[in-house]
Amino acid sequence: MEYILNLTKTLGGMILLAEKWIKLTFQGKTRWGFVIDQIFQVGVKSLGMTLIAGMFVGAIMALQIDVQLKDFGAESFLGGLSTSTTLRNVGPVLIAFLLSGKVGAYTSAELGTMEVTEQLNAIRLLGADPVEYIILPRIWAVIISSFLLLIVGLMVTILGGVLFSQFIGVNALSYIQNIPRIVTGWSIVLSVVKSFVFGTLIAIVSCYKGYTARGGAVGVGTAVQSCAVTNLILIIFTDFFLSMISSLLQELFQVGYL
């Protein structure tokens, strides 16, 4: 019961934060200088990790799908199927998991530290709104950098798949030529939409969790942990619902098939 109460409280708090974020953005109070600064802090430093993760996710999916297709005797679809599966759901989910660990935990740890070292209180004492000064640029920075990192990561998964297919003896050229036979424009749109939504989720959750951290070093640790968990659950939920919506739209309008 306590669990559900906590969950509802968290959800409500995040929706309030999102509302404030949108309102402040429309009032034109975003400080884009800070945003750029934060994008460098959050985004560029996570690039290496994203590249490694993307490579391995692509390679894992190519290997796994190859093994499975051998069972079904349909190896000629390897390139298209593994790329499409990676782009449409496995890739965004796994890379968003890692980003929520990196970006989300970083942001929530930083904000949590600011909270417990009373830096946010200092800003409040100066008569300024900490949401406007500290959180708004961070939300934008995390959204933009997660989105960009996810896109980069997805590109790298394709590269990883190609490299690995070459390694296990599938002709890389036929692998690449097979990709456009399965990967439709709709799939790419879906993966971009998913990337954007996941980026937004990571931003809101980690800022909320960091902002509400209490109680010293332990509190920061708890904030990081509950931020990562909430992120993961929300990512899986939204991934499912976006896939569901996409499949409903496809059935309604008959788009996205070859």
Binding site: V57, G80, L98, T113, V229, D239, L258
Partner: protein, 228 residues
């Protein structure tokens, strides 16, 4: 000697409870949704490639058992315990509790890491088994609802393609991941600097490094199990 051993059993049980039992609801809900999602997505792909839905349950189940079941479960576990372990040990270091332990001639590795390791491996294996069961069951719901396969047909196809050695390999994967998480996290905790910023940094690094390690280890294990 006897006293210390009992103490560690108790600690390990504590960790098993915290990591295993308390993660159950999260794993239950998340992996159920992953099972649904895989059916949905593969239905789309199979319609493109094979023009019929008969192989969707089999394909999805094989992917779940061999790959996504252990990986997603252990990533969830990482985010739940990786940051926690690093933050806990980091905090103990910051508040000088580690030094206190050493003064009581208790080895912090024995006292802190081993119980967490036992708990984490136990949690990883048991949660993965639960995860597979839940995702197959969730997939069955959606397959029956959306693709119109009967439940008997669903489980027949699934268990024709998913063999028991796959389950064993998947549990091996889970055990490896379960080992990686506490070791990486407590390493990050032990080398944590001073102050709450350092604790946050350690927690972040723990989550990131163990997630990355899980992905890399998954690749290596999949290659060892299936490609050779």
């Amino acid at each position: 000697m006897r006293k210390r051993f009992r103490l560690r059993i108790h600690e390990a049980l504590e960790q098993m409870y915290f990591l295993g039992v308390q993660s159950l609801p999260i794993v239950f809900i998340s992996l159920g949704f992953v099972g649904l999602m895989m059916i949905l997505e593969l239905a789309f792909h199979m319609r493109l490639v094979l023009k019929h839905d008969a192989l969707v349950p089999a394909f999805s189940a094989v992917l779940m058992v061999r790959e996504l079941g252990p990986v997603i479960t252990c990533l969830l576990l990482t985010s739940r315990i990786g940051a926690g372990i690093a933050a806990e040990i980091g905090t103990m270091k910051v508040t000088e509790q580690l030094d206190a332990l050493k003064m009581l001639s208790i080895d912090p590795f024995d006292y802190l890491v081993v119980p967490r390791w036992v708990g984490s491996v136990f949690a990883a294996i048991s949660l993965t088994v639960v995860a597979i069961a839940v995702s197959l069951w969730g997939g069955a719901l959606l397959a029956i609802q959306k693709l119109g396969t009967s439940s008997g047909e669903y489980f027949n196809t699934v268990f024709f393609f998913v063999k028991f050695p796959d389950v064993i390999r998947c549990l091996l994967k889970a055990a490896v991941f379960g080992t990686l998480i506490p070791f990486i996290a407590s390493y990050q905790g032990f080398r944590c600097g001073t102050g709450s910023a350092a604790v946050g940094e350690a927690a972040t690094q723990a989550v990131v490094r163990s997630s990355l390690a899980i992905i890399v280890a998954d690749f290596v294990l999949t290659y060892l199990f299936y490609a050779i």
